[in-house]
């Protein structure tokens, strides 16, 4: 008779299991300290010991959220702000598929690979922040026009990657578009229409759209 605890992640060496196994919060902080220090030498490093209320800057506003040290930005958006921002999707949870892509200070990043506590003070944009009231952004508009979506579950992630690219480089060529979107998976196979949509959105942005 063998006995084995049923474990979700230990076998698969996930980041979360690693952090917990390696001393949890301390490990998380030391890793992120280094990142913060590299990016902003003046930043104050704060250690978390348990659930804490933080303020996240999301889509131009400030949202309070109670997060644990292990809470990812994705989980914070989907479960810990009120009302929850469920436009950003969880698909793989390990930085492989891009469904949770958000813009952090304008750059596309996987929200499942960021700890919520680490992005306090940084400017986060989600799919809910793209439209201006009922007016869709040029990227959103082009996705609708070119049918760059089917089931729609990957769509928010693709929109954020495309927006991040075009805001940086509205004249991105086809190869650059493909490269910028290569971190996003779509299982319905909308990629050909997404490429058309991003090209069209780029054209509109260059012609003076929003």
């Amino acid at each position: 008779m063998t006995e084995r605890r049923v474990e979700e992640e230990r076998r698969g060496f996930s980041r979360r299991a690693f952090l917990q196994g390696a001393g949890g919060v301390a490990a998380a902080s030391s890793l992120t300290e280094a990142v913060h220090a590299a990016q902003d030498p003046a930043s104050e490093v704060q250690r978390m010991r348990g659930p804490e209320e933080v303020e996240l800057r999301v889509n131009g506003g400030t949202l309070p959220a109670t997060v644990e040290p292990r809470t990812t930005l994705l989980d914070a958006l989907r479960h810990r702000v009120d009302p929850p921002l469920t436009g950003t999707k969880l698909v793989c949870g390990e930085g492989a598929c891009g469904a949770c892509t958000v813009l952090v200070d304008g750059r596309p990043m996987y929200a499942c690979m960021l700890l919520a506590a680490d992005v306090v003070g940084r400017e986060i944009r989600t799919v809910e922040g793209l439209a201006d009231g009922d007016g869709l952004s040029p990227v959103q508009e082009a996705f609708c026009e070119k049918d760059g979506l089917m089931c729609g579950f990957c769509t928010p992630g693709f929109l954020m990657s495309a927006t991040g690219l075009l805001e940086r480089k509205p004249d991105a060529d086809a190869e650059e578009v493909r490269r910028a979107l290569s971190g996003n998976f779509c299982r319905c196979g909308t990629q050909p229409h997404i490429f058309e949509a991003v090209a069209e959105a780029g054209r509109r942005l260059r012609e003076g759209g929003r």
């Binding site: 063998t2 979700e8 698969g12 989980d75 921002l85 390990e94 299982r187 050909p192």
Partner: protein, 756 residues
């Protein structure tokens, strides 16, 4: 529109009987398409599709009506449902392919925030990853903690996870009656052997296809909104809104079916795997009943790979032959379907092509892995790989090019025109090496390969559709169907708008609620052929009813009234016209409601499809670069051309991913799946997508037919043939990976790196 009486119906009427006609319909049972004959009323005043040139909306490019909801994040999927007091459920899986297990419930319930642990069939498990318990906790993180904390005692039992293990003499018993099931033969073996002996060219080969996963981006799951009391709502990520009732989930809550509403507003991909709500649906209800609180139970990505179904693997041994003039004469094949504890899918061989004499032995080989489920054209892509490869091997032996050889063995001229179209699209006419591999000096070789497909589903009476017109002219169409991303909601609205001569945005399509009416599950490409006729019927009745009421008010003959561009017009008195809203005020305070049902004459069955792939193979690295894939598909009346092209693109992307990358890897010694996550299970990404030319065969003038399945059938086969045409390496096992190509180049002495 003309209304020529149908002969059978007219004859029946003369005899004073209600006219009936017998038609063959298809339905999907356990993922397999089954045909049956039924009788339906034959009506002389049945609605008919307008001539193509008279259509304003259908047969053109329509933006999907739910696009804005999906691009703003407003579309709420099951995964996104948030309810007051909601608990999060998780399943606990068995880590062995077979085991006896005992669950220590207290080990997890001791944790704060963990509300309940239920065991599932405490006893023996039969497949790797089979759930043994379910937990519910206050947050997703706490539910995960509960899964980790739960102590389960496992006693490993003998198991088999590969075909070889299952067929070994001392194999562990997987099924009650052994490890081989459903053995079937077809054809005369002696005749086929005799024919084979007379062939001018023969091939003997084994073609292996691994298990593919659906990889729906939204995992399977449900949210059960039950808070005690006598009603509940079940949100489900399913491709069949009504499955909740069919699986009797209300009983699990102690409720009657009528007390439970099921909701599938948006769902993140199914591809055949989401007919059942499965063990997660059942356990969510039991947890919810236990707690008297809503339960959110979505599978994890790892669950998804281990217990949510797959496309069965296949082992196919073929001996086939052709005559010198390029006709397929004989085929003897043995097919093993590998669907874990399921039976697997395969339509049999020969597939599509005409072979003079053949014999087939087909069977299921069982292993201790989770059951296969339906997956887009169940069994057909597997059969296509063996058949198209065989066809290509024989063509090459006989020195006949792949296009010409196919035409000689396909009776339907539809295939001929479609093959010509895709050949032209990939530059076949100028292709220098049509028969043999590329012999140019370049290290990078270019090849073109072909494949064809078939699909058959006709609709059946399954949907009841309601059209409501308010006295203010508001038009709503209701159906209990669901939109998997195919664009169902859009064509439902478009059919009604077309019939009522209104703009698309004047019609609101409400779908995905069980109370909106009976509807079939979306599988086997049956949504369009079952649903579109019922929508058309309801819209047609609404048009007739509106004109009748308006005629009463105007004192006009309804036959002289027509709807045109949002107005009611009088055919003889063109100056007398009413705006739509004004006309609808004649309907009275209640407006009007019509219901539509299936009309056989509004759909058809049987489609073809041809594809060509143009690839480059680097003979130094074995890397394959897809240059271009072209597809021509007939689908009857395209309800939304843009969405049809999206479907074709999508099928090709999923199939090229299947061909080049996908494979479930199970360690035969340890009995564990090695790539049960998206980091390790490779699917095609943006960098892998070639130019795709999706063509609709407009010579097909029939009523609308679903085509979710057929374009996924031949892509990988065409790629395998293109790889051979490029570099002379015949890959007989998928995925078509560069290591196998390198092995082949080295074996052929054509590796660009020189002597290995």
């Amino acid at each position: 529109m003309s209304s020529t009486p149908r002969t059978a119906a007219a004859a029946a009427l003369q005899e004073g009987e209600a006219p009936r006609e017998r038609i063959k319909v298809t339905k999907v049972v356990d993922g397999e398409v089954v045909e049956e004959w039924i009788e339906v009323a034959a009506s002389d005043d049945a609605p008919r599709w307008q001539a193509r040139e008279d259509l304003r909306l259908l047969d053109s490019d329509l933006r999907r009506v739910d696009g804005p909801a999906k691009v703003t994040g407003r579309a709420r999927y099951t995964h996104d449902v948030r309810l007051p007091g909601m608990k999060y459920g998780r399943l606990v899986r068995c880590p062995y392919p077979a085991a006896r297990c005992t669950v220590d419930v207290d080990s997890a319930t001791a944790l704060p925030g963990v509300r309940v642990v239920l065991t599932i069939d405490d006893g023996e498990t039969r497949y790797l990853g089979q759930p043994v318990a379910a937990v519910a906790a206050d947050t997703p993180e706490l539910a995960e903690d509960a899964v980790r904390a739960l102590a389960v005692r496992f006693e490993e039992l003998p198991w088999a996870v590969t075909r070889d293990q299952a067929l070994a003499e001392d194999a562990a018993p997987v099924g009650r009656d052994g490890n081989v099931a459903d053995v079937r033969t077809d054809g005369d073996l002696d005749a086929a052997e005799a024919a084979l002996a007379t062939c001018d060219a023969t091939v003997e080969a084994t073609y292996e296809v691994p298990v593919q996963h659906h990889v729906c981006l939204e995992t399977h799951g449900v949210v059960v909104d039950y808070r005690g009391g006598d009603e509940a709502t079940i949100y489900a990520s399913t491709q069949w809104t009504h499955v909740v009732h069919r699986e009797r989930l209300p009983e699990r809550l102690g409720l009657e079916g009528s007390q439970v509403e099921s909701v599938v507003e948006y769902m993140g991909g199914g591809f055949g795997s989401k007919f059942p709500t499965g063990i997660e649906g059942r356990m969510a209800c039991e947890l919810s009943r236990e707690l008297g609180a809503p339960v959110h139970m979505m599978l994890t990505r790892r669950d998804e790979f281990l217990l949510a179904g797959n496309r069965s693997g296949t082992h196919q041994t073929v001996r086939a032959g052709a005559t010198a003039d390029g006709k397929l004469r004989a085929m003897v094949s043995e097919v093993d379907k590998l669907g874990g504890i399921g039976r697997g899918s395969h339509p049999g061989l020969p597939y599509v092509y005409d072979v003079e004499t053949s014999h087939l032995r087909i069977r299921s080989v069982l292993t201790n892995l989770d059951s296969n489920r339906a997956m887009r054209a169940p069994g057909h892509p597997q059969a296509s790989f063996a058949m198209e490869s065989t066809v290509d091997e024989l063509a090459h032996q006989l020195g006949i090019d792949g296009l010409e050889f196919r035409k000689r063995n396909l009776a339907s001229l539809v295939y001929h025109r479609q093959l010509d179209a895709v050949a032209e699209a990939v530059g076949w006419a100028d292709h220098p090496n049509k028969v043999g591999p590329d012999t140019s000096d370049s290290e990078v070789k270019t090849g073109i390969g072909f494949g064809v497909s078939t699909w058959g589903t006709r609709g059946r009476p399954a949907c009841v559709v309601t059209v409501r017109i308010g006295p203010d002219g508001a038009v709503t169409v209701l159906s209990g169907t669901q939109d998997l991303g195919t664009g169902t909601r859009t064509y439902v609205a478009a059919i009604v708008a077309e019939e009522l001569a209104l703009p698309l945005d004047a019609v609101e399509a409400r779908i995905g609620h069980s109370s909106y009416g009976a509807a079939n599950g979306s599988g086997g490409s049956t949504t369009v052929p079952c649903l579109a006729p019922a929508v058309k019927d309801a819209a047609h009745k609404a048009r007739v009813a509106v004109l009748a009421r308006v005629a009463e008010v105007l004192g006009a003959d309804p036959a002289r009234l027509a709807l045109h561009r949002g107005q009611v017009i009088h055919l003889e008195r063109p100056d007398e016209r009413l705006g739509w809203a004004e006309a609808c005020s004649a309907l009275g305070a209640d407006g009007l409601t019509t219901t539509g049902e299936w009309v056989a004459s509004l759909t058809d069955a049987g489609v073809h499809g041809a594809q060509a792939a143009r690839v480059q193979v680097d003979t130094l690295t074995g890397q394959v670069k897809l240059e271009k894939i072209a597809c021509m598909q007939d689908c009857g009346l395209p309800l939304n051309r843009l969405a049809v092209r999206s479907q074709i693109n999508g099928a090709i992307v999923e199939a090229l991913s299947y061909g080049l990358f996908e494979e479930r890897v199970v360690d035969p010694d340890l009995g564990v799946m090695l790539n049960a996550c998206l980091g390790d299970y490779k699917i095609a990404g943006c960098a892998d997508i070639p130019e795709i030319v999706a063509m609709i065969d407009d010579e097909d003038t029939r009523g609308p037919i679903g085509i979710g399945e057929p374009p996924i059938i031949p892509t990988h086969s065409a790629i395998a043939n293109a790889i051979f045409n490029a570099c002379g390496v015949r890959l007989r096992s998928m995925p078509l990976s560069c290591d196998k190509i390198l092995d082949g180049l080295v074996a052929n002495g054509t590796w660009a790196g020189g002597e290995a």
